[in-house]
Point group: C2
Chain length 246, copies 2
Amino acid sequence: MQAGEPVLMPIVRKLERSGPLDDGDRAELLALAQEATTLDADARIARDGEPVERCCALLSGFAYRSKITGEDKRQIVSLHLRGDLLDLHGLMTGTADHDIRTLTPCRVAFIPRAPLLDLLDRRPAIARAFWLDTLVDASVFREWILNVGRRGARTRLAHLLCETTVRVAGLDADSASALPLTQGQLADATGLTPVHVNRVLQSLAQDRLIAREDGAITVLDLPRLATVGEFDPAYLHPELQPLAAG
Amino acid sequence: MQAGEPVLMPIVRKLERSGPLDDGDRAELLALAQEATTLDADARIARDGEPVERCCALLSGFAYRSKITGEDKRQIVSLHLRGDLLDLHGLMTGTADHDIRTLTPCRVAFIPRAPLLDLLDRRPAIARAFWLDTLVDASVFREWILNVGRRGARTRLAHLLCETTVRVAGLDADSASALPLTQGQLADATGLTPVHVNRVLQSLAQDRLIAREDGAITVLDLPRLATVGEFDPAYLHPELQPLAAG
DNA sequence: CGCTCTGTTGACTAGACTCAAGGCTAGTGG
DNA sequence: CCACTAGCCTTGAGTCTAGTCAACAGAGCG
């Protein structure tokens, strides 16, 4: 992090995808947190059922939300990256209704509940940006329900890989960075088993759609993978300008 | 509907589950629509990809949202009942990213986009109530991802039946009204096939958990069905008071 | 009266899961 | 420096849940 860049800048950048905030709004938002922390991979940010007293802003790295069934099967319900506020649901309802954990080491800032709620009261433009963000999240959830409910394993995995690649690198990404998910985590995100994920990944790699080095996955041919995965980015609302790298 | 009750009263009742609105807020909300329309069963309210110019308020009856895959398989992603605003996503983004249709005949009121957006600008309490509503919706989406991704057919169907019963009739529902879903629609909501839904329903009926008359399903034993379905209503946020019948 | 839609049943198939074993890599402690 | 361990990945064999295909029954409707 460069000296001088405010800690919460990634949050502001993401919120401003739906339209610029005025200087007062931006300043008040940035004033909510001055310090960042680094979390290890696989650190727990929120636990299902526990009260939420602060909101975690993800400044870099990857995180995910998950729920478990009564038989202890885990489902990852969303992935998050730089610029996401992870706890808005818990913040508004007071209790987390799912787990939130880091996937990779992450830089985060914690925003206490009260000042944030207060800010939302005083700054309608910020409240609206948060709401819009929640609506886009919901759109992604709907697509995941479709993906998990109605697509076969190959299509389903291809779709997830496309979504993740596009969210990380944008639609015009060439080769794309390696994705930070283990096969077990991919299984939890797609509702498959790790064994089956392994076999499908081999098949995708054989078709030159992806490459695997050291276990990490790289998308080789996003357009063809998008065809295989029936991936249409409309639900991600790319009309909101892509995030600048940072 | 009694003469004199404002058309949008069901919407206000639902929004007020998260806390009362002041008189000004309530009056402005109610002023958004004076007329209701009746839609047939299976009527189309929004179509994937089309622009949204008005928001549909559901006053009575049932509706659902669905998406389809590239192979024309349909997934129902949410069910809606009295008091729900169906188009908030489309309203804020300008375009519907899924289909919305009625399940049963419905009374609805259409709220034009501009006055609603204007109201949200002027009335932060209403905006906040809408946002909270969206957050609760998102919580339900997450549970559906878990349900479809990680539970077997029997558990999955039982879970859906529990959720629907509780949302319609509340936690303390005795026998509950018949649910308005055909087996094909249950299949689309659970990611199963109609044939398999049929067989699982027979098994649930044999265990006296549900009854079927004229094809309509009634929950006989909600507590036991909740056990079978691993159903815990926390994600529906019942701490928001249940809707009064109406 | 025939058409369509929903529900039902049976026989068969297949996609994904389970179980089990073994390999590779990185980290740890002796 | 070398076992030893713990994750993660990989592979194979066998199983099973849920899907597919097909036919038919009953209700509602024009």
